[in-house]
Amino acid sequence: MVQKKQIMSSRDYILSKIRNTPRDKRPLPEIPDFKVDGELMDRFKRSLLMNKGEIVDAKQLEEFIDSHQFKKVLSLSEEFRSFSNLDIPDDAHQLADMDVAIISGQFGVAENAAIWLEERDMGLRALPFITEHLVIVLEKDQLVSNMHEAYERIGKGASGFGLFIAGPSKTADIEQSLVIGAHGAKSLRVVLV
């Protein structure tokens, strides 16, 4: 109880300090329409390559999975359900050694290859991160040009967790040398269907 009281008082203290600071009343600017025309698909592909992701087709995906003889593959995408040999566990810790996760993205952003995912697309929030390799299935006509359009599209969506994912886990913390596969997925493949 005592602790709660203190917390309340800090809140009021901070707010009153702000209130007591005379300021202008500058309005929020309108965000103009920055939409660009042109080939979204081409831009998306180029952006993804820059982020060290890859575009593959269904056949290449099959080859990738077959050739590595992965033990733990989980597909939440209907298209590739046949690759799946694993169910979503109750606890994400059980995914610690999973090889491939195949999930469906809602839409992609051409300017930076960010793909929007919500909780329901991931099964478990940890899935796109903990898996060794990530595959995102994206419908070809689900592309927007830039981040403004992306947030317009998300609109009032209220997923508990939402994610723009734009590439595999990477770091350049050692002498600015780019290394793919820091803590999260070591590769990102996007299948356009």
């Binding site: 994400a92 403004h148 967790f161 994610l163 886990s169 050692i174 002498e175 596969g181 803590h183 999260g184």
Partner: protein, 452 residues
């Protein structure tokens, strides 16, 4: 110790200083190329700046809206006046969960609050999970840059410390090899942690959600495996609406590293079933900075690091020379607000060339504010009639002439100084400019090149 003294130390290894300078310049260059691919870049900066102006004018309204919405989403909201209170809140949550080991992703705010030593004192193991941060943590160093914490280190130094801490092969300094060693080491930590701490890039008033951006995915590995997520957020990190994320996310990564976006941009809106999210809203000097009209703008900072990468002084003196959590041009405006005595030399650690203001994605008038601080400090010093030797000792007057590479800019300040000091042997920069290893480019050439 003041900035020029520490800068001198840094510059004593000329080859290393040159390498540091070039590495940062490389990042600045990537920022330039990347920003040029966005035709509306300048318009975006202007928008971002105006959104932040509005945020500062209505800060209390947005904070209350954020609190209300976050609570409605089952996020627990705490308020901390200062670092001490922030740390106590975090400790309280850890104690409640009987948690003795945590993982933490990059958060400048927790650095500012000195959370790590505080928790360690209370018997809690803190593991920084950003690769750069883990490296400096192994070395018992603070980060030297807010985006690239280990930018001051050569890979052999990292190889050595990994050999000691993670038993990697001696002498193997392959970045891939070292990163994989860190990956394996940190995986264990992620899988074992019950509580994960992150920073916050943006808090959205309209929805009560907050956004965390990383490239490594370390923030997400931590929080999705833990039962409890604690997010530390400076009160100035608030933005009004979700649509504003579109503006800021277009600017942030491009300004920071030249990428079009960070690879993971996570939007936390409500805790997963059976889990908890706590958010700690921290003031720690921010309301004071808000009240300083001339320096209010500095609260618009989105911590992209671009002003550091471009700064000729930062590049040639290293992050540690600033002796403050946030180094570089923006740190030199923020830190004197926190402790004027301690950080009085920082506003002088600038050529006032204005390159920082030119690259800043939220258009903070950084170099003008540095100049303002100089005037404040000079006034404070004049009022405080101490002997000249005292002034030299505390580093304040020793500084302005140390930066005379900025030519005319400092003439005003120099008027206050007797010649005997101005031309004494204290000119750190002057000395170092004679080193053959250092770039030969004069400030003028540099300015011309970068203005074109």
């Amino acid at each position: 110790m003041n900035h020029p003294t520490k800068a001198e130390e840094f510059l004593s290894d000329g080859a290393n200083a040159k390498w540091h300078d070039e590495t940062l310049w490389f990042v600045r260059d990537k920022r330039d190329s990347s920003s040029k691919t966005v035709p509306e870049w300048e318009e975006l900066r202007d928008l971002a700046s105006r959104i932040k102006d509005n945020v500062l004018d209505y800060l209390e309204t947005y904070l209350l809206e954020f609190e209300k919405n976050a609570k409605a989403n089952n996020i627990r909201v705490h308020w901390a006046k200062n670092a001490e209170e922030h740390n106590q809140i975090v400790l309280g949550i850890l104690n409640k969960h009987q948690c003795k080991a945590i993982v933490k992703s990059k958060s400048i705010l927790t650095e500012e609050c000195h959370l790590n030593p505080f928790l360690e004192k209370h018997g809690i193991e803190v593991v920084d999970t950003d690769l750069g941060e883990r490296i400096v943590q192994f070395l018992n160093q603070p980060p030297s840059h807010i985006v690239m914490p280990a930018i001051h280190l050569k890979k052999m130094a990292i190889s050595d410390i990994f050999h000691e801490k993670l038993q990697t092969e001696k002498g193997n300094d392959d970045p891939y090899y070292l990163t994989q060693a860190a990956r394996n080491h940190l995986r264990e930590k992620f899988l074992a942690a019950k509580v994960a701490i992150t920073g916050v890039n943006f808090g959205v008033a309209e929805t009560g959600e907050f956004v965390v951006c990383t490239n490594e995915g370390n923030a997400d590995m931590g929080v999705h495996l833990a039962d409890v997520h604690i997010a530390s957020m400076g009160i100035e990190k608030i933005i009004p609406k979700r649509e504003h994320l579109g503006v800021f996310l277009r600017l942030l990564a491009r300004s920071a590293t030249g990428q079009s976006i960070t690879n993971y941009n996570s939007h936390f809106r409500s805790p997963d079933t059976g889990k908890e999210i706590h958010i700690v809203l921290v003031d720690n000097g921010r309301t004071e900075q808000l009240a300083r009209e001339k320096f209010r703008n500095s609260l618009k900072c989105i911590r992209c690091g671009a002003c550091m990468n471009t700064c000729p002084i930062y590049r040639r003196s290293g992050g540690f020379s600033y002796g403050s959590t946030v180094p570089g041009p923006i740190g030199s405006i923020l830190s004197p607000g926190l402790d004027l005595q301690k950080h009085s030399s920082l506003p002088f650690a600038s050529t006032l060339c204005g390159s920082c203001s030119d690259v800043c994605p939220v258009k903070i008038n950084i170099h003008e504010q540095l100049y303002e601080w100089r005037q404040e400090i000079t006034k404070a010093q004049a009022a405080n009639a101490k002997s000249i030797s005292m002034k030299i000792a505390n580093g304040i007057f020793a500084v302005p002439f140390a930066y005379k590479i900025s030519a005319g800019m400092m003439r005003g300040a120099l008027k206050f100084l007797p010649d005997s000091i101005t031309y004494s042997g204290l000119n750190t920069w002057g000395k170092q400019r004679d080193l053959p290893e250092l770039p030969k480019e004069t400030f003028k050439q540099w300015y011309k090149k970068n203005r074109s």
